[in-house]
């Protein structure tokens, strides 16, 4: 699982460098695109992911202590906060699309939708895993509990880590 984590983070890191390069080479295009983004929306997305990550970590510890009901509640909370992230992101994509921003407009929007879209797909996969594991904690005997429960949490935390860099690269000014 750590190998998957390392490879995924490497893929994200390459994308981060691409965004950083665009910031330097096309500052006017980047600034124009950035001015349309809402930092409060970015903060909301960050807080929902961070809260979900904390609840997942609590869920893993409750599972290891065989407190399955408690673990299920934490996983449920984590999935709910993950859904908040998904809802906010869909609302943001919709509003940008209605305003005429999308793939093909310019390099900023191409990179914005590709990078955040790549992250969004990871969040959807992680959310599915969290919901799947959370619904089965204490009800099913996992063949490899540590990989199933710990590995799912690890994947979810990776989504957090990627967002911690994606967010400032798009939202912060030089």
């Amino acid at each position: 699982m750590w190998m998957v984590f390392a490879l995924e983070i490497f893929a994200f890191a390459m994308m981060f460098v691409g965004v950083a390069y665009l910031r330097r080479t096309q500052p006017a295009v980047f600034h124009a695109g950035q001015s349309v983004l809402d930092a409060r929306m970015g903060l909301g997305l960050t807080l929902s992911l961070v809260t979900s990550g904390w609840l997942t970590a609590e869920g893993v510890h409750a599972f290891r202590a065989s407190r399955f009901e408690r673990s299920r509640r934490f996983y449920g909370g984590a999935a709910l906060m993950g859904l908040v992230f998904v809802g906010l992101k869909i609302a943001e994509y919709s509003s940008k699309s209605r305003a005429g921003y999308g793939l093909g407009v310019n390099d900023f929007w191409d990179l914005y939708f590709l990078a955040t879209g790549f992250h969004f797909i990871h969040v959807l996969v992680g959310l599915g895993l969290i919901a799947y594991v959370g619904a089965r904690v204490g009800k099913t005997t996992f063949e490899d509990p540590e990989t199933t429960v710990g590995g799912t949490a690890l994947f979810w935390h990776m989504c957090d880590l990627a967002w911690f860099f994606l967010f400032p690269l798009f939202f912060a000014r030089p």
Binding site: F16, Y21, R24, G53, W54, L154, F165, F171
Partner: protein, 71 residues
């Protein structure tokens, strides 16, 4: 301890948005990555080599992104 880590993450996110400047926001991103890595991903109980590699990896990423993005 995990709840304290969570509060640190929330505070760092709010400060990054309020400040709004890239370099401090990247450094805060690195700090948040280390908090998640060491506390939530439990790297603080891992072998010291793994801890060092993770921390150096995060520091290297912050450095590279700062350099590439700088005008």
């Amino acid at each position: 301890m995990r709840f304290i880590a969570y509060l640190v993450l929330v505070a760092a996110a709010v400060v990054a948005v309020a400040w709004g400047v890239l370099l401090p926001a990247l450094v805060l991103g690195g700090i948040k990555a280390c908090v998640v890595g060491f506390e939530f991903m439990e790297l603080r109980t891992a072998h010291i080599a793994h801890r060092i590699v993770f921390a150096l990896g995060v520091a290297a990423l912050v450095l590279v992104l700062s350099l590439v993005a700088s005008p």
